[in-house]
Amino acid sequence: MSGLSEVSELLRRASQDPVLRTALDRAIASYWKKRKAVMARYPYIVKLAEEVRKIKEWSIDHMDELVSRALESVERAGGRAYVAETADEARRIVGEIVGTGKVVTKAKSMTTEELKLREFLQERGNEVYETDLGEFLVQFLGPKPMHFISPSIHLTREKVAEFLREFMGVDVDKDDVEGMVALVRKFLRDKYFNAHVGISGANVFAVDSGATFLIENESNIRLSVSLPPKHVAVVGMEKLVPTMDDAWKVVEVISRYGGYKVTSYVNTIMGPARRSAADVGPDEYHVIFLDNGRREASRDEILKQTLYCLRCGACQYLCPVFGVVGGYWAGLKSAYSGGIGVMWEYVTGDKETASYHSFACLLCGRCIEACPMKINQPEVLREIRKRIMETF
């Protein structure tokens, strides 16, 4: 819990942190350059984003129906499907699948961050590794993933080199980013082979096929979820769209607005491995559909916009407040960051803290321009302010 003065102090300190600022400045300048290039090369993406907005609107309005069809699809393909109403329930289900004393590899996933799943599994005596480079750094350096697709946006390469030097006990050159990536990759390589369970989220889920889509650039996700004998996917209910065709559209929009001309890998997972020599993959495919406030939000005319969010991170890169405080906005206890993070925290987490953080929004609306779904964050955040103001 925090009041307005605590929010003010947290954000004031963050805005005066020179390392944070350097890291954010570099990331934002790089994103803006990439975004302009992507928009120039693929101008049709704007129309595709409009189409995806319609797909999302329909899907959020039919969430219950999609969830029940998704359960059938997963089971039909030989997987196990679950509905978790709350974060506790989701953790309990994953806890039972994993057990104790196991090695777990994780794909980067904001939804599992929402559940604090890594910490939960560690407390139960499991060894858990984040395999996305940025998320791996956050696991050891904290304080939280600070951006949807660039979780270590708050860290400079200098900081990372310093950490790796100590962690790996080898010499690391701060300007050799490739070298640092290789070091972490080597460290994780045998974890994949020893892991009992691979855990992922989903970028989008195609209901007709029971397919989990995972977008990545480092090939770590493919290894994390296909080498261990069990794959658990935690899918927020807002990720469900009716068809494979819809899902591919979502994938393209996420990648482009995330600033990628090409996204290196797109994985589609449609059930456990079949019993043939040619098919590699886990023997068990578990899909957990997570509610945790989403169904309630889907019935709220203003809050439901939160669920259109594809988590591409464009709004975070281009928000003037995020540009100086990064993921401190929404609070360090929230998995989510920035104005959209406040909205997600309000929907899935601590409404009171989110309410205080809502007052840091400028209502300037650059996020709406940035967002492929044209989510009106100022409108939603103002509504959150209104709801807490009415209680005084």
């Binding site: 540009g323 840091a360 400028l362 321009e369 209104k386 005084f392």
Partner: protein
């Protein structure tokens, strides 16, 4: 918890009840800018300022005080927000705000911006009335989610506007423009006056400004002007007619960067940091003269201008 926000709310409600202004500023003060211009009180066209320009010196004072409080840490900040006594002892109570007379020099700049707009409109052949007791636009209440106070405020504003007999309202800042165009209808039944920004009106009348300031400026699109009201080409056209060269920053037009102003009343340090960053972007155009078209941008930037080494002008101070 919630003490601080509750205190903010009750301070604003208190002032709203007494003066219809969040800082406790009188409406007679808001109308002073037009003294001696012989503007009528009734007419088809109404020039309504929303009092934002006039409030700048008071906003400056209030924000400076908040920043001092904020720098003392969260506990003091919360106590101060909660305790009217401490507020008083720091000389920032609303009654003492009212007691302070803003010096002629301090307010002159902002009054003169409004007079420049009025005389440009007259030269362009537009006749208009104004309200001698000019109400504040109410936007802060809406921004903070205080819809009840906002509703009450704008219903009274609508009545006051109706009394002038105006069919068309001429606005001078983006926040008032947005509020009248898009929020009034939601809170006031049957409010249907036409709303036109003075820049649109000047262009429509073929106004040719003379140009009286710097010959080359970095343009800062105010968020509410460019994104929320869609006025993007208008200031550029007026500047170019005045013979002023317009330099575009990296983030411009629909992607303009906010000045930080909207959060200055609650998070003043953060607002300053954002202003500084934006001013540096503007300075990278190569010009040290920044032009804005919004009183909130004007005040929030002016405070940080010296540190960045730029001068901040309202567009009226450049085009004349």
């Amino acid at each position: 918890m919630g003490m601080d926000l509750k205190a903010v709310k009750s301070l604003l409600e208190d002032n709203a009840r007494r003066t219809w202004n969040p800082l406790g500023i009188r409406e007679s003060y808001c109308g002073q800018w037009a003294q001696g211009l012989n503007l009528p009180a009734k007419g088809e066209n109404l020039l309504y300022t929303g009092c934002l320009y006039q409030m700048i010196p008071y906003i400056e004072m209030f924000s400076g005080m908040l920043k001092r409080l904020e720098s003392l840490g969260p506990t003091v900040f919360r106590l101060a927000m909660g305790a009217n006594k401490l507020f008083n002892s720091l000389g920032i109570s609303t009654t003492s705000l009212l007691g302070i007379t803003i010096s002629r020099a301090e307010r002159e700049r902002y009054f003169s911006i409004l007079r420049t707009i009025a005389s440009a409109l007259r030269r362009a052949g537009v006749e208009f009335a104004y309200m001698r007791e000019e109400p504040y636009n109410g936007v802060l209440y809406h921004d903070l989610g205080m819809d009840e106070v906002f509703g009450r405020h704008v219903r009274r504003l609508a009545d006051r506007i109706r009394e002038t007999g105006a069919k068309r309202i001429i606005t001078v800042d983006p926040h008032t423009t947005y509020m009248l165009r898009y929020l009034m209808g939601e809170f006031v039944e049957g409010f249907d006056a036409e709303v036109i920004h003075y820049m649109d009106l000047l262009l429509e009348r073929g106004y040719e400004p003379s140009g009286k300031g710097p010959k080359s400026v970095a343009i800062h699109d105010p968020c509410y002007l460019a994104r929320w009201n869609g006025l993007i080409d208008q200031p550029r056209e007026l500047l170019s007619r005045a013979g002023v060269q317009v330099l575009e920053p990296e983030f411009s037009r629909k992607f303009t960067g906010c000045c930080g102003g909207p959060i200055e009343s609650l998070l003043p340090s953060l607002a300053s940091t954002i202003a500084l960053k934006r001013l540096k972007e503007l300075k990278e155009t190569g010009s040290s003269d920044v032009v804005v078209m919004c009183p909130i941008c004007l005040t929030n930037f002016s405070r940080e201008a010296r540190q960045v080494g730029v001068r901040v002008h309202d567009i009226t101070e450049v085009i004349g």
